[in-house]
């Protein structure tokens, strides 16, 4: 990523997103006066929306267009065209959802936030649905298949054999082509008519042979690629098995159990929310503490503890989601980057990240106790928060179910191939 502009834009997006989270934390902690907090919120929101909706898509359009060689000349013009189509679709997005209220004008903050929120929430729900299912699957060693060294060796041997076959076939092709080339040279010395007849009779068999071998080579190459990927898979599984035997591995394994319970609970809650068509009014922490107080009869100062615990939980959620997002993004980036499209990818990632953060602010409101919700509600105007929560639950459930299905299929398919009895 060499363009200075791209780097600046990305860092701005990131910085402002983090400031938003800091503001939330300040909310809970109660530092700084209310008025200044309010002001900072507003400022932050304005800037982020500006960047997300105007600047970033424009640059994305610009870079995409400059990659297509045909349109090099009128880059700016085409970038503007792309940007306008983006704004149009962005606007249209608002129609099917019940978020337009007749009081506000066109360019008010609420409209923009609502749309950004919709996209971001969808994204978040998809990611967290998949993550909620994937996490227990990867962490728990229950799911690990038994891979022995001999499996890996056998597969590697097959890979080597396939490569050798490919090599020998390619040698034949090269030799045949070389002979044809040499014969072609000899033929050019022969005089016209007889030479032409000879070339007609002799070359078809050779070239037919060539195309046949070429097809076999293509099939073998495909096979070798598959074998390579399978071997990588097996090696990775073997390493994970070894890792799980170490102390660190066991620790993560236990964490994995806890986390999977949490994920299952979340899915359960999402189902209940949809089925019974209600949105939680109180946050889980307060409710959990209330339940424990009621059942166990322990004297707890609910307010005091709930504040601290919710602060810690919110902090953990924020940190892990930021970390998880950045790690996934970097992996993704390395996997598909090339020097041409890296600018576009960075900008797309910045856009995704910005939307993700904005919508997670919206959703974090769900986890915060009542008294802290006020300022968020105040700043963001009259958004239909309930709608967002419902929408999130729906998409979360859908993506979790589909990823369960997907993983189940993948899991079933793999062990049948190379398990030694």
């Amino acid at each position: 990523v060499r363009q200075y502009v791209v780097q600046v834009v990305f860092s701005i997006t990131f910085a402002f997103s983090c400031t938003m989270f800091e503001l939330i934390i300040f909310e809970i902690l109660g530092t700084l006066s209310t008025a200044s907090r309010y002001f900072h919120w507003k400022l932050n929101l304005y800037v982020i929306l500006l960047v997300l909706i105007f600047v970033v898509p424009f640059y994305i359009g610009y870079f995409v267009v400059s990659n297509i060689r045909l349109l090099q000349r009128q880059r700016l013009l085409f970038a503007c065209v792309v940007w306008f189509t983006f704004m149009y679709f962005f606007w249209k997005l608002g129609d099917p959802f019940p978020i337009l209220s007749p009081k506000h004008g066109i360019l008010s903050i609420e409209q923009l936030i609502s749309r950004v929120g919709v996209i971001g929430v969808t994204l978040m729900a998809l990611l967290s649905g998949f993550g909620a299912v994937n996490c227990p699957y990867t962490y728990m060693s229950y799911f690990l298949r038994n891979v022995t060294d001999s499996d890996i060796l056998a597969l590697e041997r097959r890979l080597q054999q396939t490569m050798d076959m490919i090599v020998s076939k390619k040698k034949r092709i090269a030799m045949t082509r070389r002979q044809m080339y040499q014969r072609g040279e000899d033929q050019s010395k022969q005089t016209g008519f007889w030479g032409i007849i000879k070339s007609v009779t002799s070359s078809p068999s050779a070239s037919e042979n060539l195309s046949l071998i070429q097809q076999e080579v293509d099939a073998l190459e495909e096979l070798s690629r598959q074998l390579f990927l399978e071997t990588v898979d097996l090696q990775a599984t073997k390493e994970r098995i070894e890792y799980s035997k170490t102390f660190q591995g066991k620790y993560f394994n236990v964490l994995g159990y806890f986390f999977s319970i949490y994920c299952v609970w979340k899915i359960f809650m999402a189902t209940i929310n949809i089925v019974f068509d209600r949105v939680g009014k109180t946050d889980p922490v307060t409710r959990g503490i209330e339940i424990t107080v009621n059942y166990l009869g322990i004297q707890f100062d609910v307010k005091f503890w709930s504040q601290h615990i919710s602060f810690i939980l919110v902090g953990i959620i924020i940190v892990t989601s930021i970390r998880g997002l950045l790690i996934t993004l970097t992996k993704f980036f390395y996997a598909i980057s090339s020097s041409k499209s890296s600018n576009v990818i960075v900008l797309v990632l910045a856009q995704i990240m910005g939307m993700y953060f904005v919508s997670s602010v919206l959703l974090i409101r769900m986890s915060m106790p009542l008294e802290y919700r006020t300022i968020v509600t105040e700043v963001l105007g009259e958004l239909q928060f309930n709608f967002y929560h419902r929408w999130f639950d729906v998409i979360f459930l859908v993506s979790a179910l589909s990823s369960i299905l997907f993983l189940y299929l993948a899991h079933k398919q793999a062990p049948e191939k190379h398990m030694t009895p």
Binding site: E156, L159, Q160, M163, I166, V167, K170, K171, R172, I173, A174, M175, T176, R178, Q179, E221, S224, R225, L227, F228, L229, T231, V232, D233, Q235, A236, K238, E239, Y334, S338, S339
Partner: protein
């Protein structure tokens, strides 16, 4: 169709530097139309005339093994890649002239390939850091190729060429800078073609014609070490 002797040459480098285009150009004398990401390893064969133009001329198969991936891959990918590194006779290191990181990664690439190759002959790797002495007595010939030469703007060319000259000194190797979309660079008689065929000749010599008597003992020593390590398994 007489079967010729073979020589195995690895083509290593970062993702996207142009190894597949290079191999295609070397073997088919044509430019690769639609390069796509190499998964695993793709092999291509070139028939090379050793000592061309002399009465001792003999044709050899040169297998170019183009291994895909990056140095920072997971260790599972690396250990699978090690399957391809067996019995290598020569290495072509490819880097992108427009991308500095790819040249820096070449050190790690060469270490990866050489570590897999050298059985315990006493070549100690100092935790992966670069050590020039290793390359000085390295029996495997190296060739350094810089690609995307045409994409460097005119004013920066000298800096880039100076940097690559330094790099080739580090590796004790020859270097070629070219553009894989232009077959003109390997036209017969050009200096690039001469360097290339010299490199291939060197590889064939090291493999089939052992010159020095001390190298002969080194070879047999290696074989004995190999045997011992197998025995302990």
């Amino acid at each position: 169709m007489a079967s010729l002797d073979r020589v195995k040459v690895l083509v290593l480098g970062d993702s996207g530097v142009g190894k597949s285009s290079l191999v295609h150009l070397l073997c088919h004398n044509q430019v690769l139309g639609n390069p796509s990401w190499t998964v695993g390893c793709s092999v291509d064969v070139r028939v090379h005339d050793y000592k061309e133009g002399t009465p001792e001329e003999k044709a050899y198969y040169i297998e170019l093994w183009d291994v895909g991936g990056s140095v920072g891959s997971a260790s599972s990918v690396k250990s699978t890649r090690a399957v391809f590194y067996n019995s290598v006779n020569g290495i072509i290191l490819v880097h992108d002239l427009t991308n500095k990181k790819s040249s820096q990664n070449l050190h790690r690439w060469s270490l990866e390939a050489l570590n897999k190759d050298s059985s315990p002959t006493g070549v100690i790797v100092s935790n992966g850091d670069y050590d020039r002495e290793q390359f000085a007595e390295n029996p495997i010939p190296l060739l350094l190729i810089g690609t995307k030469y045409d994409q460097i703007p005119e004013n920066k060319r000298n800096d880039v060429l100076a940097r690559t000259a330094f790099l080739s000194e580090d590796f004790n190797a020859e270097e070629i800078n070219l553009d894989c979309t232009n077959p003109r660079y390997f036209a017969a008689g050009s200096s690039n073609a001469v360097k290339l065929s010299r490199f291939f000749d060197k590889v064939i010599e090291k493999r089939y014609f052992i010159r020095d008597p001390c190298q002969a003992t080194a070879f047999t020593d290696k074989k004995r070490f190999n045997f011992k390590s197998l025995h302990y398994d």
